[in-house]
Amino acid sequence: MNVTPYIFWFLSVLALFSALMMVTSRNPVYSVLWLIGTFFAISGHYILLNAQFLAVVNIIVYAGAIMVLFLFVIMLMNLNRETEPQKNRWLKFIGALAGGCLLLVLVAALKDAELKSQQAMVGGGSIGLIKVLGKELFTRYVVPFEISSLLFLSAMIGAAVIGKKETSQTLNS
């Protein structure tokens, strides 16, 4: 009896449960914390597939940096259950309809995918290790990799420009 399926089911249940709780909790701070739980569960899945680099980077970037900023903003704005806007009933209905449509499209797209013949390699393989991944990124995929880094740079500069503009305006006025 192998232990991997048990871990897989445990992590899947954890990921789905925290994702559901993230959507349904009323307090935005709780939502952020549940989302962090989801990220940890997904990192666990990566480790099961021996994609160690992806697992750790997922924690560092998403749980350690992006979610901290989210939490930051939410804590500063002091969003509470009382301040959450009450949505129109029709809006909720339309939202459910749109979500259902998306689900339909996803199911239709995945129906024909050859998922059954492609089994994931569990607990083995070296493609997720940093040496192999780095070589792939800097030889075969070097152009898309560099383009995406340029995109990040432009986003960073854009953020700095927007931030600077506002301070100079407030100083002038």
Partner: protein, 349 residues
């Protein structure tokens, strides 16, 4: 004996190792509080704690007992669940990092090979980094859920400080990784045993890393999250009893673990300099214990430096802290990284 395809002896070995390391962390953290007060007294020409036991050696036990028996108060307006989660998270993240540090040379006796490291994973250094970046949550959650303005301000200060100083820390680490070519902690140590300690090649990188470690541990001169004269007591203002104890204790465990990380990354880990100790013909047990003792000596030295700095240097102002982090340390560490990369490329050709 196999259970669920896992070797039961392997699990027992790891559990014993983890329990030892956690016990050791608690013990060292306990006596670091004592050392802090004794060193402070020494630097300020006082006697320090000297009532409980010989030389006041039972003082940490008395402090712990006091914290245990204090009344536990959870403020009515606080967020009860998160209020309890905060100190627990601070403690967990402080202890987690110890799992990837090699605490000594492997115990090799015939076919038995017991590494004194819980997990020698491919991502060793990155895992340290990941846990450090998650360490913010203990402070943030505790500070926010207290529902106190001072606590919230301190939590936000602490979080922004830790996020800012993670960047130069990571960049300083990259220079080390460029030299070893591996992220495995065990490989980093064995590389240093062969080629000399990293502090010889990376003095600037080490200084940057050390400053960032001070900031990540919220130690003076970067202890702005608990600046008493500005924020009363900081992010743990509403905490009492053992929950406060957890926060205070987590700081000392963080100091201990970051000392161990610095010793491992820059000071050769469990290596004794200038000699080849593996040729001495010691018994395997003695050899492992000796290497462990050497690492501990280095760690104790770093702990002393942490305390020494706290009682020597005054606190930074908040804008000075941010200036130092973003405008001085990050460019410096970038230059350090580029220089190391260029030299590595040039020398390897």
């Amino acid at each position: 004996m196999m259970l669920l395809a896992l070797d039961i002896w392997f699990i027992l070995e790891k559990v014993a190792l983890i329990a030892t390391i956690i016990g050791l962390s608690f013990f060292i953290a306990m006596y670091t509080t004592y050392a802090e007060r004794k060193v402070a007294a020494w630097l300020q020409d006082r006697r320090g704690p000297n009532r409980a036991g010989p030389f006041g050696l039972f003082q940490p036990l008395a402090d712990g007992g006091k914290l245990f028996f204090k009344e536990e108060i959870i403020p009515l307006t606080s967020n009860r669940f998160l209020f309890i989660l905060g100190p627990a998270l601070a403690m967990i993240t402080a202890l987690l990092t110890s799992s990837v540090i090699p605490w000594g040379a492997s115990y090799v006796d015939g076919s038995i090979n017991i590494p004194l490291q819980v997990a020698d994973v491919d991502m060793g250094v990155l895992i340290v980094f990941g846990i450090v970046s998650v360490g913010v949550y203990g402070i943030m959650i505790g500070g926010w859920s207290s529902n106190n303005k001072f606590s919230l301000l301190a939590a936000i200060r602490g979080a922004s400080q830790m996020v800012s100083y993670e960047l130069p820390m990571g960049l300083a680490l990259i220079a080390v990784l460029l030299m070893t070519g591996s992220l495995k902690m065990s490989v980093i140590v064995s590389h240093q045993i062969e080629h000399g300690w990293h502090i010889l090649y990376q003095p600037l990188g080490f200084i940057i890393f050390f400053v960032c470690a001070l900031a990540e541990c919220n130690r003076t001169p970067f202890d702005l999250p608990e600046a008493e004269n500005e924020l009363n007591f900081g992010y743990h203002q509403e905490y009492s009893s053992m929950k406060l104890g957890f926060y205070l204790f987590a700081e000392y465990i963080n100091m201990f673990i970051s000392s161990a990380v610095m010793a491992t990354l820059y000071f050769g880990g469990y290596d004794i300099p200038f000699v080849n100790e593996s040729a001495w013909g010691l018994s395997p047990l003695m050899f492992s214990l000796m290497s462990f003792a050497v690492l501990m000596a280095k760690v104790l030295f770093f702990l002393f430096v942490f305390i020494w700095i706290r009682w020597t240097i005054p606190r930074f102002r908040y804008d000075q802290l941010m200036n130092l982090g973003w405008k001085k340390l990050i460019p410096l560490s970038l230059v350090n990284m580029l220089l190391t990369a260029a030299l590595t490329l040039w020398l390897n050709k």
